[in-house]
Amino acid sequence: MKLHELAAVIGGSILVGEDQPDLVIDRAFAADLLSDVLALTEEQTTLVTSMINPQVMRVAEILNVTAVIFVGGKIPPPSLVEYAVKLSIPLVATNKTTFETCGLMYAHGIRSCLSRPVSDMGGR
């Protein structure tokens, strides 16, 4: 699914990435605990989160995240948006909850970024 299609599906607005309308989103991961994001994501994932602190973008940068979706009506501060522009990482914001956002994404063919079970990772 392309970025602008994803934004339409989840009723979101593209904050960063209007210049990348053809970017393909096919894998995602949802978490607010950044350690979970660091532990469990594979490359080329889109991150769904309700955290809007600057550390989220630093994690996104380190992990080569494809795009970040902010849920629950959270609007990231201008400094975070500027950082995302610098990194060319698209940002989408939606009023829907994490559950609704993930449900809609899954229903439209987006799948988990995990290629192995959680139990194989970090002893869980």
Partner: protein, 150 residues
């Protein structure tokens, strides 16, 4: 690369690690290794910010076959390392968990993303963590190159 990390400086949390990841990439380290080193650095950097008494240092050394990430502080030290290495175990203060940190996965993540992991800690003295990340992507590339030339 060596960075001084200040205790409690949550606003800058992860900024040294983000810089390290991009500097490693610029230095020609393969993307997977740079990503793993970034993850290890990030967790270590956050540990210094959230738990150390007086901050500490985050050092990265690039070797031909590996990237070494080293973290060192001067206290308080970890009383029970096995317990600290248990997934989900955390002594993080509420201000850290409110920001999405302190999930009790930091050291576990560091070990998981390293090929070599060593931790030494003494109460009242400090903690030193050394992580070795093999440059596997670069090996592949080098092997590919060798193959092409032979």
């Amino acid at each position: 690369m060596k960075y001084a990390i200040r205790a409690g400086d949550i606003d800058h949390g992860g900024s040294a690690s983000a810089r390290i990841k991009s500097e490693l990439t610029e230095a020609g380290v393969d993307a997977t290794t740079a990503r793993r080193a970034g993850i290890v650095s990030f967790e270590g950097e956050m540990n210094l910010i959230v738990y150390s008494d007086d901050g500490g240092t985050l050092s990265v050394i690039v070797e031909p076959d590996a990237v070494i990430v080293e973290l060192e502080d001067t206290g308080p030290g970890i009383e029970d390392i096995d317990l600290a290495m248990t997934p989900g175990y955390s002594t993080a203060p509420v201000w850290a968990t409110d920001l999405g940190f302190g999930a009790g996965m930091g050291l576990v993540n560091m070990k998981q993303h390293s090929d070599g992991f060593e931790i030494q800690s003494q109460i009242g003295v400090g903690t030193k963590v050394t992580c070795r990340i093999e440059r596997k992507g670069d090996w592949k590339r080098r092997r590919g190159r060798d193959h092409e030339t032979t």
